[in-house]
């Protein structure tokens, strides 16, 4: 499945919710399926400080593809992490770098990536793309 196809799938999943709270209930459930970061990486070195909620992110590069693991101390943040990882994990660096993540706007969760939310998610997306760029550079060397 391409990034766009995965995004489309998520959009369809969220389209059944009419009420905000049902959507957030689903998001909280999603958070339980985040591929968790290994305990030894859950340190300040891997912490993306967001002031309000904290996010830890790690990436592995296997056979030309990037695999993310993460965690957060807030469950709604974690639900969005799940979506981001579902879309971006297991992809080639170029795919990750070029991803627009437009689906977040369609499902009405884009506000969580606003710089004013200070929940670490915007920095997390930047960090995911940065990982991809570093791995791409490594690959070309």
């Amino acid at each position: 499945m391409t990034i766009e196809q995965t995004e489309q799938q998520i959009i369809e999943e969220f389209s059944i919710f009419e009420d905000w709270l049902d959507k957030y209930n689903y998001l909280i459930e999603c958070g339980k399926d985040v591929p968790l970061i290994d305990a030894r990486y859950k340190t300040n070195n891997y912490l993306i400080s967001g002031c309000q909620s904290r996010v830890w992110l790690h990436a592995d590069f296997i056979d030309g593809k990037v695999y993310f693991t993460a965690d957060s101390d807030a469950v709604i943040t974690k639900g969005i992490i799940y979506l981001l990882i579902r879309v971006l994990s297991g992809r080639r660096p170029d795919e990750i770098i070029g991803a627009s993540l437009a689906f977040l706007e369609v499902i009405g969760l884009k506000e969580h990536l606003s710089p004013t939310r200070s929940n670490g998610l915007l920095s997390m997306v930047k960090q995911m793309k940065l990982y991809a760029q570093v791995f791409k550079l490594k690959m070309s060397n």
Binding site: W20, L21, Y24, Q52, S53, A74, V75, I76, T77
Partner: protein, 410 residues
């Protein structure tokens, strides 16, 4: 005995246009009053009138508009002085807000009194605005910031306060009401203790000015600071009240127009109080808005507001505490204005996000009081803060919504 008319929050609400709106298609319940209060129509109208008809730079203008604006500005000062019980209008200095008032104090009083190795006394529940200016002053003088301990309920440890006073701080600066916990500090007792030790006192009234009557003369505090926007007035205006004897001795904070007497290239002599501390063009419109807001609040009566809000807070505390797993952070016996809480072990960001979606404006985070959060060992809290226009019905709806969050998050 005269009986006051029943306090009618429902009627007062009608004066506040911003309260009558929907967010996410749900009626807004505004419970972020400790951050800023909404403005009544009379204040909005006052700003509009000023800019439509009266706008002018004040003081020293010989022309009609300038004289009118100057008179209005100085009348606002007199009204503000009366509101806080100051004896003299020129003891009221207009600033941008509480933060600027305290920075002025740390700078000016610091230059007057602070010596190498000196100290400043605060408490463990200060807003960053009443912590960092003093901390930096101490750092500049290789001095020491003395911090009064809190007990487990989030109240001042008075014995520790008295003990720290013995170290001879240049000033004791503390909040009247904690913005993070809602604790009302025993300020009268603290002022007495400080004065017995020969230490002047600054009270941070940012959270008390809209919630309880303040009389600086009766309190005998040396300084009292607050922000207009937390008492139904516009943003961009604040107050530094200081006893005349102190303000006369203190050096100016900023330099520029208006605050001078004679200027040559060699030297400058400074203007009298209060102008010595008001360099540059002040926020005239906001000052007039402040006057209108204080007059408006006076008509309702701050004491009546305090009594009503007290019953509202008690009601909210009782109902919230009944929710399974809910933790109220800060259990002071004397409290006002704010309730900080956590839902089970969930992160405050989660609860705040869900409450937002249900139409509740609450704040999450450390409320610019990180050391307070450290004392209680929490990353932050959800904070609901009330004002005189909040109703029992709104509090009931908040409790239902929090119950719903608890079901989702725990």
């Amino acid at each position: 005995m005269e009986t006051l008319p029943a306090f009618r929050a429902e009627t007062i609400r009608n004066d506040f246009p911003a309260l009558h709106q929907k967010v996410y298609n749900k009626p807004l319940v505004y419970l972020d009053n400790a951050a800023t209060t909404q403005k009544p129509s009379v204040v909005i109208q006052r700003l509009s009138d000023y800019y439509a008809n009266e706008n002018c730079n004040i003081h020293r203008g010989v022309h009609y508009l300038s004289q009118q604006a100057t008179a209005a500005f100085e009348q606002a000062r007199a009204v503000t002085a009366r509101f806080i019980g100051a004896q003299k209008a020129h003891e009221v200095i207009f600033t941008k807000g509480t933060t600027e008032s305290i920075n002025l104090m740390a700078d000016s009083l610091g230059r007057l009194l602070m010596k190498n190795g000196g100290s400043v006394l605060i408490t463990g529940m200060e807003h960053h605005a009443n912590l960092i200016p003093w901390q930096q002053l101490c750092l500049q003088h290789q001095g020491k910031l003395l911090v009064t301990r809190l007990n487990e309920k989030g109240e001042i440890d008075l014995d520790h306060f008295a003990e720290l006073l013995k170290q001879g701080p240049v000033i004791a600066a503390f909040a009247h009401i904690s913005n993070a916990l809602g604790t009302i500090s025993p300020v009268a007792e603290m002022i007495r203790l400080a004065h017995d030790a020969g230490v002047p006192v600054l009270i941070d009234g940012a959270q008390s000015i809209a919630h309880c009557p303040v009389d600086v003369t009766e309190l005998d505090c040396d300084f009292f600071v607050f922000s207009g926007h937390k008492v139904y007035a516009p943003m961009g205006v604040g107050v530094l009240y200081g006893k005349e004897e102190w303000l006369l001795k203190m050096p100016p904070y900023q330099f520029g127009g208006e605050m001078v007497d004679q200027v040559s290239f060699e030297k400058t002599s400074f203007n009298d109080l209060p102008f010595k501390f008001e360099a540059g063009t002040p926020n005239v419109g906001a000052v007039l808005g402040l006057e209108t807001a204080l007059n408006y609040l006076n008509r309702i009566g701050v004491a009546a507001v305090g009594a009503y809000e007290h019953s509202l807070i008690e009601h909210a505390l009782a109902k919230l505490s009944a929710i399974d797993g809910l933790r109220v952070v800060g259990q002071a016996a004397q409290r006002a204005s704010v309730i900080s809480f956590l839902i089970g072990d969930s992160h405050p960001y989660d609860g705040g996000t869900l409450l937002d979606k249900m139409g509740f404006a609450v704040r999450t985070g450390h409320h610019c009081a990180q050391p307070v959060m450290d004392i209680f060992g929490v990353p932050g809290t959800i904070r609901a803060s009330i004002a005189m226009y909040n109703t029992f019905d709104e509090v009931d709806r908040l409790c239902e919504a929090v119950q719903r969050c608890a079901t989702m998050l725990t």
